[in-house]
Assembly symmetry: C2
């Protein structure tokens, strides 16, 4: 059994590789919900949707979000009605938001709504939101205190970031199954998602970081940082804003209290060697997923490295 | 100033003719909301939408409902998610339901939401829901107590009708402007809509029927019944269920306490002559709107007949 902590973009690509080499029944996803937003009065959960669509084989590979082949007629009509349209909701994607809103309004939890949607779409992996409570990632910028989607999608992450906080996290509890899935996993993987706003939000839910620290199985993370920058998105900017180095060492530092193995890109071999000297196990492989087959190759390489006995890891790397 | 009481289907066609010969600023629509329903948790108002889309030039002429050229991708996705899809909501149409739901949730009245949507779509006529309170047309059948849309759309009006009632009507008040628009109109028109469930629901709101009775201007209705059947839909079935004759005499009877002039199809000339003997003014013209130009011709004929001094009406007809 493998438990994966993930956000939506790089995470979904990584999950695409995993789902092709591991039976879905053996996968549990713990998904960031810090980006969730009420959009047109509907409850949208971008990362839950990306992971669900990916596991259902419905995620648009071109866009990396939303449903394959979707149209945007409702969005355009909303624009004609003078409504905001900066958050792109496709017509097919909209069905998910409408159903989730309806299920939540009927008293179901986000976990229950997520499971119902995933099952309807034929997903066999377990998809868990990090929490059933609202934890909202807020990005403080000179332009104001923004939600993550305002910062990321509406304003194209152009604002200097002063700080990031997770509103509601202190009072939140992990969703049912989250702690158990970490405890009982044979392997825990941290997807190459934004450490601050995709994984950091999950770690901000009381109990999750503690469960990872106490976890007896190995915990391996794939670095979303290659060289001195994020592969995509604002991970670098946000790590710097939080006082972390924008490097694989910064990623290792972010996860320092529970990480057993860091998977980094082969181009970071020198930095990897330096990091090994601090005692961290590091595995170098091709982590940038440009083509579909890159995803499978990365997943295979991660599983292979993670399954090696820890002691021999350094030797293997040097061999 | 012309005030029109109307439902969605035949009413929208009639309004299409009117809007082409009368400046929209001179038109006030009082629209049936007895068919309104919560669909996927969204507030849908089929007749308000048909009239709004028609006045905006956006109504699908082929279907007679929904937005011209609309697609149904969200509907299909809802079907894949195991949700009911018998009520056809197009992707562009959906924007209206989402916005209306949002406006109502923010505390606006249905009148305010209707005006905001109409203005956004460039409608210059005034569109008023019959009431801002919920009045629900319920159709009692052997299969159960159905909402109008369940009876009409979901079950294709195949159930024998035992009775019709307007739940909530006793406590409802006319929406702001409804009574005033009847009182101040130079002419009141009743569209060729279903007398029972499109106009009867409006008349069930306390105060509206009284305002029509006391109205000093002429009130003319276009009969939706031609011969012994409705031009479209279940008007005949529902009139019979309510104890009215399915004929132009039944329509005159339905509106007997306020109607000044009944417009009937030329094919009903004999029945018209009989009706005139009871004292009702009747004008014969082509009322079946097959082609776009039929709509304009009917609107012109109605206005011309309604503008004639009442006394000379019978003479004109006989001339």
């Amino acid at each position: 059994m493998i438990t994966v902590l993930t956000g939506g973009t790089g995470g979904a690509k990584f999950v695409d590789g995993l789902r092709q080499i591991v039976p879905q029944e053996e996968l549990t996803m713990i998904v960031n919900t810090g980006d969730d937003l009420l959009w047109w009065g509907l409850y949208a959960s971008p990362d839950l949707d990306s992971i669900t669509y990916m596991l259902a084989g419905k995620l648009s590979q071109e866009r990396g979000w939303g449903v394959k082949g979707d149209t945007f007629h409702c969005l355009h009509a909303m624009g004609q009605l003078g409504q905001p349209i900066w958050f792109n909701v496709g017509d097919r994607d909209l069905a998910t938001h409408i159903l989730r809103t309806r299920l939540l309004a009927s008293g179901k939890t986000l976990s229950e709504a997520t499971a119902e949607i995933a099952t309807s779409l034929g997903v066999r992996a377990r998809i868990l939101p990090m929490s059933d409570s609202r934890v909202e990632t807020r990005v403080l910028t000179p332009a104001g205190d923004l939600s993550f989607e305002e910062y990321f999608v509406q304003r194209w992450y152009q604002d200097p970031v002063e700080s990031v906080r997770f509103a509601g996290a202190a009072e939140a509890r992990p969703a049912p199954g989250v702690i158990e899935s970490i405890r009982s996993a044979d392997l825990v993987l941290i997807a190459p998602s934004n450490p601050v706003t995709s994984i950091g939000s999950i770690l901000a839910v009381p109990g999750i970081r503690e469960a990872l620290r106490e976890c007896r199985s190995r915990i391996a993370a794939v670095s979303p940082i290659v060289g001195d920058a994020a592969v995509t998105g604002p991970a670098g900017i946000l790590m710097a804003a939080q006082g972390f180095a924008v490097s694989i060492a910064g990623v290792a530092d972010f996860y320092h209290d529970f990480l057993d193995l860091l998977i980094v890109d082969s181009s970071d071999a020198t930095a990897a060697e330096a990091l090994r000297k601090t005692g961290m196990s590091v595995h170098c492989t091709a982590t940038i997923m440009r083509k579909p087959e890159d995803r499978i190759a990365l997943a295979k390489s991660v599983l292979q490295a993670a399954m090696q006995p820890p002691a021999s890891q350094g030797q293997l790397e040097r061999a």
